[in-house]
Assembly symmetry: C2
Homo-oligomer: 504 residues x 2
């Protein structure tokens, strides 16, 4: 048993009498004064398993009861290879692993990744191995949509004699296979942002009843909760699921909170109406929107991380959600990350073979991933997490006229609607982040400044560099500076300026 690695106990037994999803099997793991109860599950072929994620070193005593009775103990040691850091958790407005290692999500989207043929899945893994992504959003259920017409080989459940899905009979081959994907990605250092429900369906999974959904969730949680790399995304576009009123979402949320012993990250992805991200069980704001300017406000409001899990996709589809340029994708990543939020990639280029990355994986064709890698490398070398560096209208105490204008600005801003204020900020507001006094970053986006003036704190010494986010160049232009600085810029889109405190 290694800390932060899934531990599994297996038992042989007779087949369950009733439900094969919800079996009478649980275990208590006790280490020192702390106990945790986990449920076991049926793997098929007379095999039962109990999984546990040990988060502390020391001796765990375990006791299994129900359709299997057993007990024992294991010594949990620090994982030898150093790669296991535990579950990613939200801490304030950012993420970190259980062991405190920072985690900055750079996600991509491959909705039906695990419903493709083995060869294509293998190719997807290969692509991901060389890509900058450390999180993949994908679905348990297959996807029926434009460019998504192939029939998967396996489904989550067996059918009953009427040809209807029997949620009490998991298709074990499906779950074994699906799980192999989660574990493979985990090995590669990639988190699984697992989409539990979605509306794009021709098989009936989106029309399961609340009770059926809970049985499905129960099996899934028994099986996957001990895998540290999993996040729960309740849905993709929850609000388009015609069969699930809001009460169902609250019920799913509660069920997950009660049945996931580890409280993995939990979000819910919208189409039109944002989920209520103030709800206590929701760990982070998972949003579909290109409203990049809102990140800092949402972080302040919810005190949770913000992830733009769908901000449109790089590509050339005849749908506006799927035809932004690589530059625009990179622009959205920088817009989010500069203020301490995160963004998720997706790619949709029309192709003869109907293999679009966003649904099926395969190879990446776009121009954004290498720029996302560049951004990731910059963010990961920073000594901490960015948060918004607010645009303060600094009133020069001596300039009375200026003070009056600032006061007028304030009054005017209070007198207009939220939508008008947004429009104003979209036009005027700088996109800036900082980490205490150590890091200052401004992403200029579509602004083509030839000059940028900053007021850096005095009593520190900074190295200042100009970053070209598209051409992926970094040029140090000032060293050992502080206070008022001016930076000359080339006057084109896609520039950033970064000041990092120099080690003295």
């Amino acid at each position: 048993m290694e800390q932060y690695k899934m531990f599994e106990l297996k038992f042989e037994g007779s087949c369950p009498n009733g439900s094969e999803a919800v079996v009478d099997l649980e275990a208590v793991f006790t280490n020192g004064g702390e106990s945790r109860v986990v449920k076991g599950f049926y793997k098929g072929n007379g095999t039962y398993a109990v999984r546990f994620l040990p988060e502390k070193e020391g001796v765990y005593k375990w006791k299994v009861s129900g359709c299997v009775e057993a007990c024992g103990e294991e010594t949990c040691v620090k994982a030898v290879d150093g790669s296991a850091h535990g579950i990613v958790r939200a801490v304030g407005t950012h993420f970190e692993y259980a062991d405190g290692t920072p985690f900055k999500p750079f996600g991509t989207t491959i909705y039906a990744m695990m419903h493709q043929k083995e060869e294509l899945i293998r190719q997807t893994y290969e692509t991901l191995a060389a890509a900058p992504f450390n999180k993949v959003r994908y679905c348990v259920f297959p996807k029926h949509y434009d460019y998504n017409h192939n029939e998967p080989e396996l489904f989550a459940f067996e059918k009953d004699e009427d040809g209807k899905w029997d949620v009490n009979r998991p298709c074990f081959a499906f779950w074994d296979h699906f799980e192999s994907g989660i574990l493979k990605l985990q090995e590669m250092g990639i988190q699984t942002d697992l989409i539990l429900f979605h509306p794009y369906d021709r098989w009936g999974f989106s029309a399961l009843s609340l009770e059926q959904c809970k049985i499905y969730l129960d099996y899934l949680l028994r099986r996957f909760s001990a895998i540290p790399s999993v996040w729960w995304s309740m849905a993709n576009e929850y609000d388009l699921m015609l069969k699930h009123p809001m009460e169902h979402w609250y019920a799913f949320e509660q069920f997950i909170a009660e049945n996931d012993p580890y409280h993995h990250l939990l979000g819910n992805h919208n189409c039109i109406k944002f989920y209520d991200n103030s709800r206590p069980n929701i760990t982070h704001c998972c949003v579909q929107t290109a409203w990049m300017e809102k990140a800092a406000e949402w972080m302040r409001r919810f005190n949770k991380p913000v992830v733009y899990d769908e901000c449109c996709y790089e590509g050339n589809l005849p749908y506006n959600w799927g035809n932004i340029s690589a530059f625009e994708m990179v622009h959205r990543f920088w817009s989010a990350c500069t203020v301490g939020a995160y963004c998720t990639h997706g790619e949709v280029f029309l192709s003869e073979d109907e293999v679009l990355w966003w649904a099926k994986g395969g190879v990446l064709k776009g121009e954004s991933p290498k720029r996302i890698a560049f951004l990731r490398s910059i963010l990961e070398e920073l000594p901490g997490y960015l948060e918004e560096w607010e645009n303060k209208w600094v009133a020069d105490a001596e300039n009375e006229e200026f003070q009056k204008v600032m006061e007028r600005f304030g009054l005017l801003r209070e007198s207009i609607s939220e939508a008008e204020l947004d429009a104003l900020d979209r036009k005027d507001k700088d996109c800036r982040g900082h980490y205490g006094d150590k890091v200052f970053l401004q992403y200029l986006g579509r602004h083509c400044n030839a000059l940028l003036s900053w007021k850096l704190p005095k009593g520190h010494k900074y190295r200042v560099e100009i970053i070209d986010v598209w051409n992926m160049t970094r040029e140090t232009v000032l060293t050992q500076c502080s206070g008022n600085i001016e930076v000359q810029l080339p006057g084109r889109e896609g520039m950033a300026v970064l000041a990092v405190e120099e080690c003295l």
Copy 2:
């Protein structure tokens, strides 16, 4: 006397006893059963003038009274050179000259054009002669602001013995000179969008009292109202004028409405808070904003033309209002014009000599004007005015599932805030315009479609072309088509598709 050309009567007399701005002089012009009363003004040096803009052919009898008494008659004939079309007026959501000739404004901004040295003004005229702009926004009062520090030679008024502006003593040299600019532009086919007040002032013009302002306006209206090419822009950034509460703006509006016999176009330009464009005297929505998506909504709401008179400027300043790229400027023009709104250009490139086009004129350095010319040429060859071609979610009557999703979309859209709805539309909504069944235009903007599907009306035949708004190319891809069409596109930003009904 020629139709649509200013007619002037001049009289010698003694200097006014009191105010030189508000003199006792008026005239009645009568043609057939119609009479119009106009006020005369003092030109200095014992000269009085009465100006009149004849809009009808026929015999005008005139009678001057007050400090000058005279009468006579003139026969008004159609202007021989065919260049005079009268005052531009708002008709529904578009503009046309009094004689019905279409007018589609393509403006630029040169705030302090007439406060520069003669040589620079001459250069500005030369530049304008080769530029695509048919409207210029500029101020009566000089401008004090960054990159605007030079002292003008002339001001609108003389000073009193205390060194304060005496609005009752117009500086005639100023008015003669200023007027020469309006007339010069008019000769060139360029409208003057005259900014009557603005806040960027070190001389005191922004702090005149309401009564002083009315005297200034009175003189200005007596003098300029008969010039057909003038529009009244009450202010630039009215809301930043600390000395003028809303009552003043309503008073100015009313004064102008009552004292301009011809009711020239009247708008009021905002910084933060849009002026109330529903007010009856306001002829069009003059807005500062980059909220291009709102145009069609505002046109529907106000049934008035919408002009984005300030949508940021092409340039490289360290201010976000002055550093958009040429592409972005062109993008904003196309975004406005496609749905039947209009946009105004401005240019601010840092330069050693502090001559920035937006304030002082001179030469154009940017890359947007030639693309604006390209857009203008396309719009002007269309057989009519565009209006929004609405994005209708066309429900296939046979597809019940699709109907339900559309219904859900509708309900969801009703359940979110205006700001959320805007964010959604900004991401998803197509930018499309049409002129009846004769013209259909979609500007794809930052969308990189490789394919576009349209449903054109049946029973017509269209020629369809692909336009590259940046590279200024037009390629006909379909002829004699109707109904469902598909257009292949190159999958990059800045493309438009235009269908025009073919003459059979």
